[in-house]
């Protein structure tokens, strides 16, 4: 299922930054800001989710290169999903 796969891919990318806390982090943002269940995550949600997660990551580190890299990877995910479809 593409939605499930998108969610897992978002979690997988986030794990590179916040390790075992990634799934909790993504679930929290999906539920709090998108008001959907994690497995309902779809391409239209990605931009909004990315905005929130980038802000949160920016709060965790002063290194803007890390935040930019994370944003770029999530954004690339959006394009990949579009091309897959």
């Amino acid at each position: 299922m593409p939605t499930q796969s998108l969610y897992e891919r978002v979690v997988s990318i986030t794990e590179d930054y916040i390790g075992p806390a990634a799934r909790r982090f993504i679930d929290r943002h999906i539920q709090n800001h998108l008001q959907i269940k994690p497995d309902q995550l779809d391409i239209p949600h990605l931009k909004k989710l990315s905005r929130w997660t980038n802000t949160a990551l920016g709060y965790l580190t002063n290194d803007s290169a890390i935040v930019d890299e994370y944003a770029a990877r999530l954004s690339a995910l959006d394009q990949t999903e579009h091309s897959d479809k």
Partner: protein, 309 residues
């Protein structure tokens, strides 16, 4: 509720610090100690306070480190890493509490020995076993927690088979056993004031002091390796930086605690050392423990922040 779960630990700290201050200020100093170090009773009390205050500050840092680790663990307690960190934090609690408890028991036992000289052997034996018991409990939980964390990652079985861990342990064990069993003051009192280190026959020293300490230290050493392994292998650059503080802090705490236990257990060998030398060594080790707990607090605060955003 005014006294929350977390600051109950600070209340416990305050009570123990108060008790220790009372024991330091209001119990008489052994006349033999005053003579040996050429001190007046007032100078001895001033010196005791000068030692007690930084020691109590380190206790506070230990409680501070534990409270922050616990706060983080409470947030993630239902996750897999949370369960193992919870076990580990139980060990950290016992390690934190062992600092004041050991000092209070030792001070009180010294007072009892001063009042009832015939009870000196019993007070020394009791003090030694309390210290050992707390070391067993704290390092048991730390080992279980560290092993659990490492078990979440592949390749963790290598940790138990590391040659440097075995070599380090064998060297530590042999040195400890040799020093302990060659200590002329291990069974009968020697020096001023006359005290023996254990007041036990050699067979009991081997079975109830040396072997349990070696078992505890081995667990501590392996726990440190497990934590190092987990820190190296776990994913997440921001998570790693927070966890690195906790892992390094715990490694510091374990290593310094083992060193303190080692130094204290052979302290009767230092009878001829100067007071200044003894104080410097003990301060140094206690400061290292404090630094370890401080690192744990910094790391726990960073990781907790990840769970809050």
């Amino acid at each position: 509720m005014i006294v929350t779960k977390l600051n109950r630990f600070y209340l416990l700290y305050a009570l123990m610090a108060l008790l220790y201050i009372c024991l330091t200020l209001f119990t008489p100093t052994d006349a033999a100690v005053l003579t040996k170090y050429h001190l007046s009773p007032t100078q001895a009390k001033t010196l005791s306070l000068a030692v007690a205050i930084p020691i109590m500050a380190i206790w506070f840092i230990a409680f501070y480190g534990f409270v922050h680790l616990r706060a983080y663990v409470q947030v993630i307690r239902k996750t897999e890493d949370g369960k193992h960190l919870k076990t580990l934090s139980r060990g950290i609690f016992w390690l934190a509490i062992s600092l004041p408890v050991n000092s209070i028991v030792a001070s009180y036992m010294s007072y009892l020995a001063y009042r009832h000289p015939s009870a000196i052997p019993a007070t020394i034996i009791l003090t030694n076993y309390v210290r050992l018991l707390l070391a067993i409990v704290s390092l048991y939980w730390i080992f279980q927690g560290a092993k659990g964390l490492a078990s979440m990652l592949p390749g963790n079985s290598e940790v138990m088979h590391r040659d440097d861990a075995r070599t380090g342990f064998i060297v530590l064990g042999l040195v400890f056993a040799y020093i302990t069993l060659n200590n002329p003051a291990r069974r009968s009192p020697v020096g001023t004031p006359p005290r023996a280190a254990y007041y036990l026959p050699d067979i009991l020293i081997i079975l109830t002091i040396i072997i349990p300490y070696l078992w505890v230290w081995f667990r501590g050493l392996i726990a440190a390796f497990y934590l190092h392994f987990y820190k190296q292998k776990v994913k997440g650059m921001l998570y790693k930086s927070g966890l690195g503080y906790i892992a390094n802090g715990l490694i510091f705490i374990i290593a310094s605690s083992i060193a303190v236990q080692f130094v204290v257990s052979i302290s009767s060998l230092w009878r001829d050392a100067t007071l200044q030398f003894i104080l410097i060594i003990l301060y140094l080790l206690i400061v290292l423990i404090g630094l370890g707990f401080f690192l744990v607090a910094v790391g726990a605060k960073r990781l907790k922040k990840i769970e809050e955003v």
